[in-house]
Symmetry: C2
Subunit: 397 residues, 2 copies
């Protein structure tokens, strides 16, 4: 696909390109791709490129990839409308997210199916640049454990069902990338094996699995953990549980909601100490209220109260987050003392590798999609470029 917008040039800034900083660097962007990266002193100017006039103090880093996000700015994947996904793709560049998995949640079959059809269609059609890209679908539930429902409506939770899943795969136009499930439930391991065999990610989540059951699930193909710590068996000294397995097994990449609410900052530090920068994937798990003001919102037919940075059901259960991924990146710097390079691994590199799209996303490299975030000196998002087109500028574009 080619587009008609002008090729752009960023210059004079710091660029984090495949594990190295290029000082006083430049990036040439054309046809949605990164064409050239180098030192500005050696730049041969070509008139076709429009120079973006940005402060030289900025850092260019790869766009964030959110593999677990339900909604933002009033829209939710479960709305099952093109408008909802448009709203999300337009809102997310503001937090540095340039691509994501539209995440469904436990609902009646019919509602899930509508959401899958809608997202599957959206993803399969041409997605114009200048907005975040929907990479695929993360199916969270209904194949989870009622004991660890969290904000998944308990009455719609069902056992893992391979036939039903195959139907959904069709409806979603083969765009499902991750399935959060409870492998200990009847049919769980069968579904895991199917996902693994067909190139999808089986993620253990909303689960009551014992440590032994996690080991079985890993053998069957589970390699991902849905929001580590939340809605799973915790660490006990005579039963390590899912948390213990996540800590001990390098095979498992762990999603982490770093809003300081879902997980205590010191426990974020502990997860980082355990899993290292390779083992963690920053997510938001955000719902429609993100970007909006405090108040009452809908989440899968349930009333959610948003107040003081928290989103919760009337019974106090945390119900998704209103975290912006850019803030999650800033938080992990402050909670763990890690460096921005490590945070980039967790917000861009690891999700790209886990989704097997590191050949086209996840780092600033020649030939890859021009998904670029420019951070200011406070690590706040100054500008976001989605597939070669500016999607967000701080203070309005």
């Amino acid at each position: 696909m080619t587009t008609n917008f002008k090729p752009i040039l960023l210059k004079g800034i710091r660029i984090y390109s495949d594990g190295q900083w290029i000082e006083h660097g430049y990036i040439k962007i054309k046809n949605q791709k990164i064409m050239e990266i180098g030192n500005t002193d050696h730049l041969s100017l070509q008139e076709e490129y429009e120079v973006l006039n940005v402060p030289l103090s900025l850092k260019a880093i790869p766009g964030f990839i959110d593999v677990h996000i339900h909604g933002a700015n009033g829209a939710d994947t479960m709305d099952a409308t093109k408008e909802a996904l448009d709203t999300m793709t337009q809102a997310l560049p503001g937090e540095g997210t340039t691509s994501f998995l539209a995440t469904t949640m436990t609902q009646e079959e019919k509602q899930i199916e509508e959401a899958l059809i809608n997202a599957g269609k959206y993803i399969s059609e041409v997605q114009p640049p200048g907005k975040a890209e929907v990479l695929g679908i993360h199916l969270e539930g209904p194949f989870v454990n009622k004991e660890k429902a969290g904000a998944q409506p308990i009455q719609h939770i069902i056992n893992p069902n391979l036939e039903l899943f195959k139907k959904w795969e069709e409806l979603a136009n083969q765009t499902i990338k991750i399935v959060t499930l409870a492998p200990e439930q009847p049919g769980g391991l069968e579904l895991v094996r199917y996902l693994k065999a067909n190139g999808m990610i089986a993620s253990i989540g909303h689960t009551n699995a014992t440590y032994e059951q996690v080991l079985e699930a890993i053998d069957a193909g589970v390699n991902h953990v849905t929001h580590l710590y939340n809605q799973m068996t915790g660490l006990h000294h005579r039963e390590p549980g899912v948390v213990g397995a996540a800590f001990l097994k390098d095979e498992l990449k762990a999603e982490l909601i770093v809003d300081g609410v879902h997980v205590h900052p010191e426990m974020v530090k502990l997860a980082y100490k355990q899993k290292g920068k390779e083992g963690i994937i920053l997510i938001t798990d955000s719902m429609r209220a993100k970007c909006l003001k405090n108040g009452n919102y809908d989440l899968g037919g349930q009333d959610v109260i948003v107040q003081d940075g928290r989103a919760f059901l009337s019974n106090g259960t945390l119900a998704g987050s209103i975290l912006k991924l850019g803030q999650g990146v800033k938080n992990i710097l402050s909670f763990t003392g890690c460096h921005i390079e490590e945070a980039i691994e967790m917000a861009a590199v690891n999700p790209a590798k886990q989704l097997h799209i590191f050949d086209r996303k996840g780092s600033i490299s020649v030939g890859k999609d021009a998904d670029i975030v420019l951070l200011d000196e406070n690590f706040d998002v100054y500008m976001t470029i989605c597939r070669g087109k500016v999607a967000y500028i701080k203070g309005g574009k």
Copy 2:
């Protein structure tokens, strides 16, 4: 003190001396001390030394130091008799332990006082070589938290009381080395500060402290954790608890009961991953039934059932262990995959450093006490030498 037994010579064996293996090595032992270490090829024989005839496949390593042990072979520190301590000092070399802290438990004041007087006297008198040495007292309770009593009789648990402790210090002839307490209880931090200021170790244990309270306790002087995981606030993702603090704070050295019963083998692995070889101290926490057969035994006035390697109260609460420290060393090799060198750190070096006696115990070095364990190819204890005198030989001496 000098003794009349003959100087001894070990030769031709592997010796682990201060972080290095000496192949085909020799050790000269005289007046309870290690006089010389070297390669057997360079050994100048002196007739005064009696050569111990041992298999050349043996490994000489430092004797184990058990900082938390109540009893063994039918005897308990709370028996408050010289005979009880004699029994322990004679039994423990069989498991490779060459010195230890006689550990009291929560009881009526009078009974604690009798135990302190007895142990204080025992420690202050000359302890003949050829038996394990009582290095001091570990006072476990009564200054703990009823919420985490475990096998500490709940009716005798009291708040930390500095005046009472000072009296006990006197009665114990200043031989108290470690105090297990719940710093979150009224008077807890005051006692911690006193212990720290007076060269004793304040250990957090049988405690309901929150993470924040542990940080306060560390500031006050706590630097030791009593049987990590057991009887303390566990790890929760919104409250890291004492376990979280133990994982995250290098200031804290953590005791660990590696019998596979008190702590799941994978959780031992996790503790090792978190704390490293410097941060863990292997203990037994054993009670009188160790070395005896299954049956019913007394622990602080409570009936304890010993069966299948476990010791528990009638309500199912684990009541100390019947672990031998030599077995704990073997277990940590198998649970964590660590090497014997690391296990030696955890069983000998770390406790010696923590007790500030590394100048005379904890490694095979010239000038130090000749506390030596000879392990066979299965890492079983073949022979134990306590301050220069053979205290145990496998299969009888």
